[in-house]
């Protein structure tokens, strides 16, 4: 069993509907993002709880821990830093990343088109991600 898109779609759809329904309960004096995030997290927890036995996602407990550490405040800065880091990435690597994330064809097909095995392509992808993360963290630390 693979994590599947229907799950993601379903959760997002439910989240937006619930927000829509609970809109009346939102207190404008309250910070908005945490409120919205709490609703989203709740939906995801319900989902994870349901799928816990299938063992295809992280558990509800660890996701809650991670969500606590998740810092929305810096997301704009991170996005900015990523843009800079992508510019510094060698063109070949950037193309590879783009193809994988555009997702118009599968990773296997991309690998074939550049004459690699899928495993080798994943390996490249892993290195690119680590490079980018290190670059972003360096920039974040500098600001």
């Amino acid at each position: 069993m693979l994590p599947n898109r229907d799950d993601a779609e379903d959760i997002l759809q439910r989240t937006s509907l619930i927000l829509w329904q609970k809109w009346a309960q939102y207190d404008p004096n309250q910070a908005f993002l945490p409120w919205a995030r709490a609703i989203a997290l709740n939906e995801i927890r319900n989902f994870l709880r349901r799928s816990e036995r299938a063992n295809v996602h992280l558990s509800e407990g660890i996701v809650s821990q991670l969500a606590d550490q998740w810092d929305d405040e810096t997301s704009a800065d991170r996005s900015e830093a990523l843009a800079r880091c992508l510019e510094r990435l060698p063109a070949l690597q950037r193309d590879l990343l783009e193809q994988c994330y555009l997702g118009s064809v599968g990773v296997k097909a991309i690998a074939e088109s550049v004459g690699m095995t899928a495993a080798a392509l994943y390996m490249r992808l892993h290195r690119i991600r680590v490079t980018l993360v290190d670059c972003i963290e360096k920039r974040m630390a500098a600001t």
Binding site: P3, R5, D6, A8, L82, A83, V133
Partner: protein, 643 residues
């Protein structure tokens, strides 16, 4: 040289990357989970990698960075709605817009959605639900395809689909002649059910059971219009505000269960089972209590019913009846949580009512194969007075049933009741009136007598107490059972109830082996039983299906292990070829002394059962091709001399 710390970090990076790719295996998920728990400092690194992944998904698949909290103040006009387009071929706007009637301009809802959906998307990435791989396997939309559109006017764009068919006995027909059946998504459209029943689950969590012939129009995931027919709605908290309109009534749900009948004549009947429903009607002009839109509201509470003839009046009160909806209502009973906050165990309990009488065994099997929120079910095990009164007060009291199966049985050994979960029977609530229970009624007339626990409501008393009944309850009709859902436990094998092993001691002429009778509730084959038998241990020794090596052993088993049990068919460790006279026990020895009754139809490859035949136990061979009945016993032997 690699330090353990850097090894863990490398491993984490590897696993996090596989998480992004969607290529991670369940074993690796477990490893990742353990790693993150063991070394919380690695959580930061995990977050860095996964948030990069989230950002890249957003960037490349929507062509924009995620939503920002900007300071611009044209937000009052900014009603851009973020939608999730569930059908990439169809422009979202063509799927029917539902306008938001209330304009809540404190914070544009559009942006609320946008931010919350972005937050949800990120959280989904963290949990590993949104990956590269998920895109590969389908051309459909992805988590990151949160399209941001700017319609001209404030509008909530409904998704193309608003509900799912959970079950149906007949197809549901859409306007365009398409038939929907179980599992199909339902668009916001009119549909017809010609007969039978169908259950719809709206995306808001609301469940509707419809009885045909009926015509229903789905307006959104939170509103429906019943043109004709009858339905029962169960509205969870998330569906608060669900609307059901009929030609003559407007109902707004405030968290409840209720039934609606839209008659062909145009009149509507509403019966509120519990909770609150607001009945809206057009008030007389100039009268008090009418709001700006001229809408008046009448609050209906549990056990109230009304008959409404037209939209301008609230109708008249009529006699409440749950019975007229019983067939619909029973199908929809939601599992109810015994909340920890209320002193409970956090488990869920569900009353299942069948249209036909059901045996305890069938109920036990149904319960085992059902699940709720990822938790497996079993017939309820009631182990405390608190649990007992919760079940009676919250679930049984309102039901019209007289008997409800629970997970209690002494079929393995008369007088020794066991819970199907293996829990000890310490608390009991046997009825003391009119007879003290359990009374094992007419035991002498029927082999085994009454072996199964049931909640009974006794005539002339509204009290629910425990009783024991025989398997098919010849003098009662039972068509309901109580399921309990709880987290998985390691300490009991699901689908089996075992009696304590009995020792055939040497001083009684025995072999010092122990024998254990197990009731298999959802066994699929002889092999699964044997696998289970071998996985059991007793005093450090593994079991196996019994081998009858001596006449004395068979006698001991007949007289002690099986004598007062109510299971007619019991698997033993015998297999082989009948035609070649090559029957063997599980321990490798040849079958020598026992008479093996041949199978009813000629067969070569067979397995063995000890079967109750009229008035005695005998060993029967059965064709390998015909596995034991769903419900049977098996006998496990623990050979202490063997180790």
């Amino acid at each position: 040289m690699n330090t353990p710390e850097s090894q863990d970090r490398d491993r984490l990076q590897h696993l996090a990357n596989r998480m992004c790719d969607g290529t991670i295996s369940p074993e690796e998920i477990a490893e990742l989970e353990a790693l993150l728990n063991r070394q919380p400092e690695l959580q930061t690194r995990y977050l860095q990698i996964l948030s990069l992944h989230a950002e890249l998904l957003t960037r490349y698949r929507t062509g924009s960075p995620g939503p920002r909290e900007t300071g611009d103040e044209d937000s009052a006009a900014d009603f851009s709605d973020s939608i999730i387009n569930s059908d990439p071929v169809m422009p979202a706007n063509s799927s029917g817009n539902v306008r938001t009637e209330q304009s809540r301009s404190r914070w544009p809802m559009s942006r609320a959605l946008q931010f919350a959906v972005a937050a949800a998307a990120t959280l989904l990435v963290l949990a590993g639900v949104a990956t590269l791989r998920s895109r590969d396997t389908s051309a459909g939309p992805n988590v990151a395809e949160v399209q941001v559109e700017r319609p001209q006017e404030p509008a909530f764009v409904a998704p193309a689909f608003v509900a799912t068919v959970r079950a149906s006995t007949q197809p549901l027909w859409l306007e365009d002649g398409k038939a929907l059946s179980e599992g199909d998504r339902v668009p916001a459209q009119a549909l017809a059910l010609k007969g039978g029943q169908a259950e719809l689950v709206f995306d808001s969590g609301v469940r509707l059971v419809l009885e045909g012939p009926a015509n229903l129009r789905l307006d959104s995931s939170n509103a429906a219009f019943l043109t004709s027919g009858r339905l029962v709605a169960h509205v969870p908290e998330s569906g608060w505000g669900f609307r059901v309109d009929t030609p003559t009534s407007r109902l707004v749900d405030r968290g409840t269960d209720f039934g609606v009948i839209a008659e062909d004549s145009g009149a509507t009947e509403v019966h509120v089972f519990r909770g609150q429903v607001d009945l809206q009607y057009e008030g007389q002009k100039g009268s008090a209590k009418v709001d700006a839109q001229g809408v008046k509201e009448l609050v209906m509470l549990g056990r109230q019913a009304r008959r409404i003839e037209n939209l301008s009046e609230p109708g008249r009160s009529i006699k409440f009846s749950k019975e007229i909806f019983e067939r619909l209502e029973s199908a929809i009973a939601e599992p109810l949580e015994w909340r920890v906050a209320d002193g409970g165990n956090g488990h869920f309990y569900q009353l299942v009512v069948c249209r036909q009488p059901i045996t305890w065994h069938q109920a036990a099997q149904n319960a085992l194969s059902s699940s709720h929120g990822g938790w497996a079910g079993h017939l309820a095990s009631i182990t405390s007075a608190e649990e007992d009164s919760f079940v009676i007060e919250k679930i049984l009291k309102d039901s019209s049933q007289r008997g409800v199966w629970m997970g209690l049985t002494d079929v393995l050994r008369e007088g020794f009741f066991k819970w199907v979960t293996g829990e000890k029977v310490t608390y009991t609530n046997w009825a003391t009136w009119p007879e003290q229970q359990p009374d094992n009624f007419k035991e002498t007339l029927r082999h085994g007598g009454e072996d199964y626990g049931i909640y009974s409501r006794f005539v002339n008393s509204d009290e629910w107490k425990w009783n024991d009944l025989s398997i098919d309850s010849i003098h009662e009709t039972v068509s309901a059972y109580l399921v309990e859902y709880e987290p998985p436990r390691d300490d009991f094998p699901s689908g089996a109830v075992a009696h304590e092993p009995l020792m055939w001691s040497a001083d009684r002429g025995g072999n010092d082996h122990a024998y254990q009778l197990v009731l298999a509730l959802n066994s699929t084959s002889c092999e699964t039983d044997r696998d289970n038998a071998r996985s059991f241990t007793h005093n450090g020794v593994s079991g196996d299906l019994v081998a009858l090596d001596t006449p004395g052993e068979f006698e001991f088993i007949s007289n002690n292990v099986l004598r007062i049990c109510g299971i007619n068919d019991n698997l033993i460790g015998l297999q082989g070829s009948l035609l070649h006279g090559d029957l063997k026990w599980t321990n490798g020895r040849k079958v020598e002394f026992v008479d093996v009754q041949p199978p009813r139809l000629p067969a070569d490859q067979v397995y063995g059962m000890i079967v109750w035949h009229h008035d005695h136990w005998e060993v029967q061979a059965r064709a390998l091709g015909s596995p034991p009945e769903d419900w049977h016993g098996y006998i496990v032997e623990y050979d202490f001399g063997h180790e």
